[in-house]
């Protein structure tokens, strides 16, 4: 599947090309990094932004949806905000620039800019194939981020918060994080607008779990109503590694979140939970590409979506089971509450299975609030709007409550309920 060549660039494509040219002298990187950036931008220029003709972008025609790209603005003074979960260690990235003083006991921290400058980041910059527009954009423009290494057998008591704050403009960040064998950690990746100026954010988290590592990774996307968020998470799971990935989308105008996960060690386990809260005129696309590449691995995915107003949502969930990956157990569910006739939701839960001894399944539902449930509450004197709010809240809260950590549950619930209060 190739991106078709386009001779004419759209306004957004032109803006990207021009922004690249304008910054070319400022991008951090050695010769190899600069060469890679040039190639990625060249691919982007030749291929253009993806259209719906490219299967993995079927429902998000980035070429037509991305109308404009904000100018690159100089670094504004933005104050850090309090951590989502009390006591978390904050690694702050303000307007695309990482705090060089950030550190935490027991882990190795490098500012990503330095890895670009010394060229050690060059291998990670490559795009993951022809449909990886986010990889191309981010690889061309990335300026900073954090590279974290959690050594083997280390258990982090408190969560680490990667706090990405912006006040409009362009922000391109990257977070390579590797978890040593049998390490345990909770990471919160938070993208948040602190002003109303439009922003284009691209961010890639490159996560590697060595054998027996146990990690909870939470993404909380709370960008502004005019923002574009192009997020990607690349995951490799080692033997008996356990990853719990939790994604909350509660903001942004045009959001694409790609979860590219490879299960590469026997006995590994993935738990993916997602809550997508969609309102206004936004378009939010969560795309999972999950490869079960070795035998004896498990995964479960549950995605809950709530659609208000004129919002459009997309969930694509591709599970690929490689030819030798026998005894794979993969279960996916995507449930959507469509609360508005002006909104829409599209689901494409895909199974691609090449091994025979597997149990794979997916379920998808789209519906309004069940009238029986509503009746039940209203018959007990709860007014309709309140009853509806309760049911919507219950629909998404259910999967948040799976966390054992109460502080975490509370923090996520407050993100969700404050969003619902503003939209319901």
């Amino acid at each position: 599947m190739n991106m078709q060549t386009t001779s004419r660039l759209t306004a957004a494509e032109t803006a990207l090309v021009e922004a690249f040219a304008a910054q070319i002298g400022e991008f951090p990187g050695n010769g190899a990094v600069i060469g890679t950036r040039d190639r990625l931008l060249d691919d982007l220029k030749k291929g253009g932004l993806p259209t719906r003709r490219i299967e993995s972008w079927h429902y998000t025609d980035l070429k037509s949806l991305l109308r404009q790209v904000p100018d690159v603005t100089p670094v504004a003074a933005v104050d850090p905000i309090t951590a989502l979960v009390d006591g978390s260690k904050i690694f702050s990235v303000v307007q695309g620039i990482a705090d060089p003083k950030a550190s935490a006991d027991g882990i190795e921290v490098a500012v990503y800019k330095n890895k670009l400058t010394d060229g050690s980041a060059v291998a990670d910059l490559a795009a993951l194939g022809n449909d990886d527009a986010i990889g191309r954009i981010n690889g061309s423009f990335v300026r900073d981020g954090f590279a974290l290494t959690i050594p083997a057998n280390i258990e982090l008591e408190q969560p680490l918060e990667l706090q990405v704050l912006h006040a409009g403009g362009q922000i391109h960040t990257r977070f390579p994080v590797s978890f040593g064998a049998a390490s345990k950690a909770t990471i919160i990746e938070r993208h948040r607008a602190v002003t109303e100026g439009a922003a284009l954010v691209s961010s890639i988290s490159d996560i590697r779990l060595d054998d027996d590592a146990e990690v909870t990774w939470i993404i909380v996307q709370q960008q502004g109503a005019a923002d574009t968020h192009l997020g990607q998470i690349r995951v490799k799971l080692g033997r008996k590694a356990k990853l719990r990935l939790f994604v909350v989308n509660a903001g942004g105008k045009l959001v694409r979140q790609e979860l590219r996960i490879d299960v590469e060690g026997e006995g590994a386990e993935l738990t993916l939970r997602g809550v997508n809260l969609l309102g206004g005129e936004s378009h939010t696309d969560v795309t999972l590409m999950l490869g079960h590449n070795v035998p004896h691995t498990n995964s479960t995915e549950t995605i809950r979506n709530v659609v208000f107003d004129r919002a459009n949502g997309v969930f694509q969930g591709m599970i690929r089971v490689a030819p030798d990956a026998q005894k794979t157990d993969a279960k996916m569910a995507c449930n959507t509450l469509l609360l508005s006739d002006d909104g829409g939701f599209s689901v494409k839960p895909e199974l691609e299975i090449f091994a025979d001894d597997v149990i794979c399944g997916h379920g998808a539902t789209v519906a309004d609030i069940d009238s029986n449930h509503l009746f039940y509450l209203m018959a007990r004197g709860v007014p309709e709007n309140k009853a509806r709010a309760m049911l919507v809240n219950a629909f998404v809260a259910e999967i948040v409550e799976e966390f054992e950590d109460e502080k975490l549950v509370e923090a996520l619930e407050s993100v969700i309920s404050s969003w619902l209060e503003r939209h319901a």
Binding site: D341, G344, S346, D356, V358, T365
Partner: protein, 489 residues
């Protein structure tokens, strides 16, 4: 369960390389030269004694086709087709419209005999009129004999070849042809519009329940001849018709192209049931040969409370690219899709359905059962789309895949698009192999492994088999057994 026993026996008896229907009837044929051009289209149109407007329609489609690109999105791979290396027209020579069996070339009758399948139709052809199935048999590209025509006429049902219909009922053809699948719809449908040579036409007038099940057996016979069928079925207000389509083709080395178009139109309160058993040559054990089956089938529930139901059993063809769809335009209309797709050897199937909900209170149901064995790949690709104004739409989709062997692939690609909050959509899919527990349970009752698997497979597809007309159901079970030969046990 005698049917199961029979399946198992069939499986034992028949090897995939001994494709039962792989014989070739030697009859003189009247053939246009290879290749495609406006001249060939003029030749086809002239051979069919078509009116000028029909020729124009074809030529327009052809010109359109020249500007189109072959679709590549399906999960199938095959060497590039040289569209200029195909005969677009071949007709048995001796047909000047036989009215009785004596006039039919005995070679043809032998062919029917060899087909071996439920040929009640053959009895009919032989004059045994105890069953009541009307056959419009397509032998290569021309309808050879149409039975029961008179009786159908009494009911007011028109059942004839599309070529005849173009001559005899131009007003209906003009009104309906291309109204469901437009000539510009897709690459293969457009090609079909340009060069279609035959197919069936059914018209059931207002309030008439078609007195019998209509049936066509397609056969691709002439070497290297693409078969471009065009079928058009119209059920007027309150009418009902059930149509059966079944196919076998002789064994060949070269790949053969089949690009048919089927259009169904159901007006208010009408119901159309369309059943297919497809068992064309799937290619040999090395993946050589076999039919390319690129078909566009679409039904239009144009009237309120209309219903269209597709049932298919796909066991043959090297490559299948087929999505029988329903456009639920009328309020309270209903679409159904029941499918069994069995792939073995090197077969590639990319099949499914589209349910497009446009009207209010429309409902649809999709049951798809895919079975992959050998080195085959079997993809379900389906779309359920609820448009903005489709209040209270309802869909239930269930697609299950069964894997037999570790060299095959089973894939599920559903697309669900909902734009109305009152819709209720449920989709579920599973993929698994026959579990050891299931097998053990059956075998410990003294049933040998191969039979046990056949029994479990039959159970797996039962929901769809039930939807088939009785005679077809038996044949379908046999076919599934034959198709899975060599993959079980």
């Amino acid at each position: 369960m005698p049917a199961v026993q029979e399946t198992v026996e069939q499986v034992r008896r028949i090897d995939i390389d001994q494709y039962k229907y792989g014989f070739e009837t030697v009859i003189e044929v009247d053939k246009a030269p290879k290749g495609l051009s406006e001249d060939i289209i003029r030749f086809i149109s002239a051979k069919k004694q078509e009116p000028e407007w029909m020729l124009e329609w074809r030529l327009e489609a052809y010109r359109r086709w020249l500007t189109m690109e072959e679709p590549t999105w399906a999960r199938v791979t095959y060497p590039k087709i040289d569209f200029n290396d195909i005969y677009y027209y071949a007709a048995p020579k001796n047909v000047t419209g036989p009215t009785s069996l004596e006039e039919v070339d005995p070679e043809l009758l032998k062919t029917y005999e060899k087909l071996g399948i439920p040929l009640r139709e053959q009895e009919i052809l032989a004059g045994v009129q105890k069953t009541r199935v009307a056959v419009d048999a397509v032998f290569d590209s021309v309808s050879v004999v149409t039975t029961f025509k008179k009786e159908l006429q009494q009911a007011g049902v028109i059942f004839m070849s599309i070529s005849e219909a173009i001559r005899e009922h131009p007003e209906l053809i003009k009104k309906y042809l291309g109204s469901v699948v437009p000539a510009s719809d897709n690459f293969y449908a457009t090609l079909n519009s340009a060069v279609f040579t035959d197919g069936s036409f059914v018209f059931v007038p207002k309030g008439v329940r078609c007195p019998m099940e209509l049936s066509t057996y397609f056969r691709i016979n002439e070497k290297n001849t693409g078969q471009f069928e065009r079928t058009l079925i119209i059920a007027e207000e309150g009418a009902y018709v059930s149509y059966l389509e079944g196919c076998t083709a002789p064994q060949r080395d070269e790949n053969q192209l089949h690009a048919a178009v089927v259009e169904l139109v159901a007006l208010d309160d009408a119901e159309i049931k369309y059943s297919t058993v497809q068992n064309w040559f799937p290619g040999d054990a090395q993946g050589k040969g076999g039919i390319y089956n690129f078909v566009t089938k679409r039904g239009d529930c144009r009237g309120a409370r209309s219903k269209i139901s597709w049932t298919q059993v796909e066991t043959g063809s090297a490559i299948t690219w087929k999505y029988p769809s329903c456009i639920l335009r009328g309020d309270d209309s209903r679409g159904e899709f029941y499918s069994i797709a069995v792939s073995n050897g090197h077969q590639q199937i990319d099949s499914g359905t589209k349910m497009i909900h446009l009207g209010k209170n429309t409902s649809s149901r999709i049951i798809s059962k895919g079975i992959s064995a050998g080195k085959s790949n079997n993809t379900y690709r389906g779309q359920v789309s609820i448009h903005r104004k489709a209040e209270n739409a309802r869909n239930f989709t269930n697609c299950d895949s069964l894997l037999i062997g570790d060299k095959c692939g089973a894939h599920t690609v559903p697309y669900i698009d909902v734009k109305n909050a009152s819709a209720k959509i449920e989709h579920e899919a599973t993929t698994s192999k026959i579990s050891d527990d299931q097998k053990f349970y059956v075998m410990q009752r003294g049933i040998p492994e191969e039979e046990a698997i056949a029994l479990i497979v039959n159970g797996f597809v039962k929901e769809v088999i039930q939807e088939l007309p009785m005679e077809f159901a038996v044949e379908a079970q046999k076919l599934i057994g034959i198709s899975l030969e060599g993959s079980v046990g």
